[in-house]
C-alpha cells in the first residue's frame, strides 16, 4: 500500500499539474506533491510491504528511494524560486511552465518506479520513461544549443536503453530453463534465489550489454557524451535532478544485475569491468575539468568523475568498498544538487554561464558565493564534509588490497581537485565581474543539503552506519 503511494502521488501530481494554468499555484503544488512523496517514502521505513511480482521494497532500494524523494523535494523548492526569473526573462512561457511542472512529477514517478520495481522488464520501462521526460526537459528552452543537447541525449540514451533491453532479454533466457516460463523469470527476488543455477555464459554476455546500456545512462566514460550537454543546456533544476537522481537510478539498475552475477559461481566477476570503467571515467573527467569555460558544464564533468568513483567503489566491492560506494553516491547526490542550486542562481544573476564573465561572488553575493565554495570544497573531497569520509575509506581500503589501483585513483582525485579550485576561485574571489544585481533565491535547499553533507562528514549516526553496513554485505 505504502509503496503505491510513493508512485501514485507523483502520477496524480503530474495529471493535476497538466491542468493548471497559473504557474505560481502549480509551483506550490509541485512542492507539495514532492513533499508528500517524501513523507510516503519515509513511511516505507516503518511499514515495509511484502515483495510482489512487480514492486518490492528491500534494504537496498529504500536507500535510493529516500535519497531520490528527498532531492526531488528540495529541487522542487529550488525550482519554485528559479522559474519566476526564467519567466521574467522570457526564456519560458506560462504554457511551457505548465508542461515543465507536469513533466517534473512524471519524471519523479519514473524514477521511483524504476527503484521500486521488482521486475527487470518493469524497471526497464521505468528507466525509459524517466529518460524520455528528462529529454523533453533538457530541450525546453528551445534554443539551438538546447535542442542539440536534447537530441544527443535522446539518441545516445535510446541506444543505451535498447542495449539494456537486449541484456534484459538475455537474463530472461538464462533464467527460463531454471525458473520456468512466465512472469516469475523476470522477478528480482525469484531470480536472486535461483541465480545459482543459471547458465553463467549467458549471464556474462547479458551483463556486458547491461553495463553498456545502463552505463550510458550512468554517464561512464566512453558513453558519456550526452551528459555535459544535457546538464549545461537544460533548466538548472533539471541539471540538479539529472546529477542527483537519474544517474543514481541507472547505477541502481547496474547494481542489481551485479548482485545477480555475484550469486552465480560460474559467472565472471563484474568487479574488474566496473573498476576499469570507473577509473577511466574518473581520470578522463578529471582532465576534462581543466578546459571548461561553462560553469554548468564543468560541474557536469565533475558528475562523470563522481559516478566513476562510485562505480569504482562498487567494483572494488567487499563490505568496505560497497559501504564507501553507497556513502559516496548519497553524498554526491546531495552535494552536486546543492552546487547546482547555487550555480542556477549565479547564472541568473550574471545572465550567462561563462566562467570568464563571473567573478568576485563572495563580495557581491556572499551567501551564494560561500555556498558555492562550501559545495565545491565538499565535492572535491575536503574534510570535514561527507565526501571526504567516503573517499578516505575507499582510498585506504584500496591501498590495502590493490596499491596500484589506489595510486591511479588518488591521481584522478588530485587532478580534479586542482581543476575545480582553479576555476571556482576565479568565480568566487577577485574583482567582481558581470552584473551584480540582487537575487531572489531560496537558500534553504542549498544549505539544507550542505548541512547534511557536513553532518555526515563529522558524525554518522550509528543506526545509519549499521544499515549501510548491512546493505554493503547484501551487495557482496
Amino acid at each position: 500500500m505504502t509503496e503505491t503511494l510513493v508512485l501514485a502521488i507523483p502520477l496524480l501530481g503530474a495529471a493535476l499539474l497538466a491542468l493548471i494554468r497559473d504557474y505560481r499555484l502549480s509551483a506550490k503544488i509541485n512542492v507539495t506533491a514532492s513533499g508528500l512523496a517524501l513523507i510516503a517514502a519515509l513511511l516505507l521505513l516503518v511499514d515495509r510491504p511484502a515483495a510482489g511480482q512487480f514492486l518490492a521494497v528491500d534494504d537496498l532500494n529504500i536507500v535510493f528511494i529516500l535519497l531520490s524523494t528527498f532531492v526531488g523535494f528540495t529541487t522542487s523548492v529550488f525550482s519554485a524560486s528559479y522559474i519566476g526569473h526564467e519567466l521574467e526573462e522570457g526564456r519560458l512561457t506560462p504554457n511551457y511552465l505548465r508542461f515543465y511542472h507536469a513533466m517534473f512529477q512524471l519524471m519523479l514517478f519514473g524514477m521511483n518506479l524504476a527503484l521500486l520495481a521488482n521486475n527487470i522488464g518493469l524497471m526497464w520501462v521505468a528507466v525509459e520513461l524517466a529518460t524520455l521526460t528528462t529529454v523533453v526537459m533538457v530541450g525546453i528552452y528551445r534554443t539551438h544549443e538546447a535542442i542539440e543537447a536534447a537530441w544527443k541525449y535522446f539518441i545516445l540514451g535510446s541506444v543505451g536503453i535498447a542495449l539494456a533491453l537486449f541484456g534484459t532479454i538475455l537474463v530472461y533466457l538464462a533464467a527460463r530453463p531454471v525458473v520456468g516460463e512466465g512472469i516469475d523469470a523476470m522477478v528480482w527476488t525469484v531470480l536472486l534465489t535461483r541465480a545459482h543455477d543459471f547458465d553463467p555464459a549467458l549471464l556474462n554476455v547479458a551483463f556486458i550489454f547491461l553495463l553498456l546500456g545502463y552505463g550510458t545512462k550512468v554517464g561512464l566514460a566512453p558513453m558519456h557524451a550526452w551528459l555535459p550537454d544535457a546538464h549545461a543546456e537544460g533548466p538548472t533544476p533539471i541539471s540538479a535532478v539529472l546529477s542527483g537522481l537519474l544517474l543514481n537510478v541507472a547505477l541502481y539498475a547496474l547494481l542489481r544485475f551485479k548482485v545477480l552475477l555475484a550469486a552465480n559461481p560460474g559467472a565472471i566477476a563484474p568487479g574488474p569491468l566496473m573498476i576499469a570503467l570507473g577509473l577511466l571515467s574518473l581520470i578522463f573527467a578529471a582532465f576534462m575539468l581543466y578546459r571548461r569555460r561553462d560553469i554548468k558544464r564543468m560541474f557536469a564533468y565533475s558528475s562523470i568523475e563522481h559516478m566513476g568513483i562510485t562505480v569504482f567503489a562498487f567494483g572494488m566491492a567487499g563490505p568496505l568498498g560497497n559501504f564507501a560506494g553507497l556513502l559516496q553516491m548519497a553524498m554526491h547526490s546531495l552535494t552536486k544538487s546543492a552546487i547546482f542550486f547555487s550555480v542556477g542562481h549565479v547564472a541568473q544573476v550574471k545572465g550567462t554561464q561563462r566562467i570568464a564573465d563571473m567573478g568576485g561572488l563572495t563580495s557581491t553575493h556572499p551567501l551564494l558565493g560561500w555556498g558555492l565554495i562550501a559545495g565545491v570544497a565538499a565535492i572535491a573531497g575536503l574534510p570535514p564534509f561527507g565526501v571526504f569520509t567516503s573517499e578516505f575509506l575507499l582510498v585506504s581500503s584500496t591501498f590495502a588490497r590493490e596499491p596500484l589501483l589506489a595510486i591511479l585513483f588518488v591521481f584522478g582525485l588530485l587532478v580534479s581537485f586542482g581543476a575545480l579550485f582553479l576555476r571556482v576561485s576565479s568565480v568566487a574571489f577577485g574583482e567582481p565581474r558581470g552584473p551584480t544585481g540582487p537575487v531572489t533565491a531560496s537558500y534553504v535547499p542549498m544549505f539544507a543539503h550542505l548541512a547534511l553533507v557536513l553532518i555526515a562528514g563529522v558524525w554518522l549516526p550509528g543506526p545509519l552506519v549499521a544499515w549501510f553496513q548491512h546493505v554493503a554485505v547484501l551487495l557482496g
Binding site: 522488464g121 539551438h144 542539440e148 537530441w151 535522446f154 541506444v159 537486449f166 555464459a201 571548461r292
Partner: protein, 221 residues
C-alpha cells in the same frame, strides 16, 4: 516440440531481417532508406506473427500488429512526409564508402554469431539462432547510426536496431511483458519522430544534417 518446418521458417524470417538490414546500409537516398525501413518492419511483423503462431502465444499478435501498423506504415509515412516538407528528398547522402560499410556489417554478423552461439548452447534452438541474428540486426543498426550524418537516416538506423531487439524479445519463448515493452518502445519512437517535427530541426539549423549541429559544442561560442 517445435517441428522442423516451423523452425526453418522462423530462421528464414530472421535471416531475411538481417538481409534487409544490409540493404539499408547502402541506400544513399532518404526515400530509399525509408522504403527499406518499412520493409524491415514488415518482415519483423511477419516474423513476430509466426512466433505467435508456433509458440501459441496470441498476445504476440498484438506486437505483430503494432509492428505492422505503426512501424511499417505510420512511421514511414510520417518520415516521408517530413522529408518532403523539409525539402531534403533530393539530397544524396555521402555514405562512408559502401564497400567498407558492408564489410563492417559482415564483421558484425560474424561477431554476433561468434558471441551468441557458444553461450546459448543450452537455450532452445529457435531462440538460440533468433537471438544471434537479432544481435546482428542490432549491431548493423548501430553501424547505420554511426556512419550516417543525417538525422532521418540516424532515426532509421535506430528503428532497425529496435526491430532487432523486438525480434530477440519475441524469440525468447514465453517472455512476459513483451507486449508492454513493445508499446513502450513505440512511444519512444513516436517521441523521436514527433521530436524532429516539433523541434523543427530544419527551421533551427537550416538542415537536418547533424554535421551542422556539431558546429556547436557548447564551449566554442
Amino acid at each position: 516440440m517445435i517441428s522442423g518446418f516451423a523452425f526453418d521458417v522462423s530462421h528464414m524470417l530472421a535471416g531475411l531481417l538481417v538481409l534487409v538490414s544490409f540493404a539499408m546500409l547502402y541506400q544513399d537516398r532518404l526515400y530509399a532508406v525509408i522504403n527499406v525501413l518499412a520493409l524491415h518492419a514488415f518482415v519483423l511483423a511477419i516474423s513476430v506473427a509466426w512466433q505467435a503462431h508456433i509458440q501459441h502465444a496470441p498476445h504476440l499478435y498484438i506486437t505483430a500488429l503494432i509492428a505492422l501498423g505503426f512501424k511499417a506504415i505510420a512511421i514511414p509515412m510520417a518520415l516521408r512526409r517530413m522529408v518532403f516538407r523539409l525539402g531534403i528528398h533530393r539530397e544524396i547522402e555521402t555514405v562512408v564508402s559502401i564497400g567498407l560499410t558492408m564489410l563492417a556489417g559482415i564483421a558484425m554478423v560474424a561477431l554476433s554469431l561468434m558471441v551468441m552461439l557458444p553461450v546459448t548452447a543450452h537455450v532452445d534452438p529457435v531462440a538460440r539462432e533468433d537471438i544471434s541474428l537479432a544481435l546482428s540486426v542490432v549491431l548493423i543498426g548501430l553501424l547505420m547510426m554511426v556512419t550516417r550524418r543525417n538525422a532521418v537516416s540516424q532515426v532509421a538506423g535506430f528503428l532497425s536496431l529496435e526491430n532487432g531487439v523486438n525480434l530477440a524479445a519475441t524469440g525468447a519463448q514465453g517472455m512476459p511483458l513483451v507486449v508492454e515493452i513493445s508499446v513502450a518502445f513505440s512511444i519512444l519512437i513516436a517521441f523521436i519522430v514527433v521530436g524532429i517535427f516539433l523541434f523543427r530541426i530544419r527551421e533551427r539549423f537550416d538542415t537536418v544534417d547533424l554535421e551542422a549541429l556539431d558546429r556547436f559544442r557548447g564551449e566554442r561560442r
